[in-house]
Amino acid sequence: MIDGLFNNPSYLAAKKTLDAVAVRQEAIANNIANLETPGYKRVDLSPNFRAELDRAVSSGDAQQIDSLKPSLSVDTNAVAMSQDGNTVNLENEMMQLNQNTLAHTLETQMVSSLLMRLKMAITGKSS
C-alpha cells in the first residue's frame, strides 16, 4: 500500500533527476577546481543517462526508472582551450553550474509538492 503512494513515475523520475543533478554538481565542481591543472580533461554526466531516463519515463515502468544510475565520465567532446591540454572552459562551466542549480530547484519543488500533497490528502490539513 505504501509503495503505491510513491510509485508515481513522474515522482520517481524527479528523484532520479535529483541524483543526476548531484552527480553533475560534483562534476562541475571538479572541473572548476581543475581550471589551471595542466592536461586535465573535463568530466560530466554520462551522455546516455538522459536517453535512458526518457525511455524509462515513456515506458511508465517504475522499476525501470528506479534502476537507473547516473555516473560520471570524461567528456570526449570537449576541446583543449590551452596548450597544456586542459579542456575546461570557465564560461561554459559557470553556465552549466547555473543550469544545474535551476534544475535542482525545479526537481526539489516537484518532489516537495508531491510530498506535501500526500500529507494534505492524509491529514486533511493544508500545512
Binding site: A22, N34, T37, M94, S112
Partner: protein
C-alpha cells in the same frame, strides 16, 4: 563525520592551491628587483606546479567514480637565467659592470595574478552555490 556538501573536496583543495599561487606571485613581484638575496645570488622566480592525482573518490550515489584530486605538487624555481644589466654603479656589479637581476616580467606576473584570482573566485562561487542547493534540499516537504 557528516558531509552535507558533497563532492567539493577538490574545490577546497583548489582554493588552497590558488591561494598558494597568489602568495607566490606576490612574492615574485615584491622581489622583482632583489639582486642580492640571502644566498648572495639574485632572486629566482618561483612557479607553482599543480598536479592532479587520480583518486578513487566516491562519486555522488556511490558509483565509485574516479575524480582527480587536485593538489599543489611543488613550488619550483624558474630555471631561466637571471637578466644581466649593465649598471657599473651598483654595489653588486661584477668585474664587467654587469648586475644579475631577477628575470621577472611584471606583465607575466600580472596575467598570472588575474588568472589565479579568476580561478579563486570561480571556486568560491561553486561553494556558495553548493551551500544554497543544500539549504533548498533541507527544506523538501517543509513548505
Amino acid at each position: 563525520m557528516i558531509q552535507p556538501l558533497s563532492g567539493i573536496q577538490n574545490t577546497v583543495a583548489a582554493l588552497d592551491a590558488e591561494r598558494t599561487r597568489l602568495d607566490v606571485i606576490s612574492e615574485n613581484i615584491a622581489n622583482a628587483n632583489t639582486t642580492h638575496g640571502v644566498d648572495g645570488k639574485p632572486y629566482q622566480r618561483k612557479v607553482v606546479v599543480f598536479e592532479s592525482a587520480m583518486q578513487q573518490a566516491m562519486g555522488a550515489g556511490g558509483n565509485g567514480s574516479m575524480t582527480p584530486q587536485l593538489h599543489v605538487a611543488r613550488i619550483d624555481t624558474d630555471k631561466r637565467a637571471p637578466l644581466e644589466i649593465y649598471a657599473p654603479g651598483n654595489p653588486d656589479a661584477d668585474a664587467r659592470g654587469m648586475v644579475a637581476t631577477p628575470n621577472i616580467n611584471i606583465h607575466e606576473e600580472m596575467a598570472d595574478l588575474i588568472a589565479a584570482s579568476r580561478a579563486f573566485e570561480a571556486n568560491l562561487a561553486v561553494v556558495k552555490n553548493e551551500k544554497s542547493m543544500a539549504m533548498q534540499t533541507l527544506s523538501i516537504g517543509k513548505h
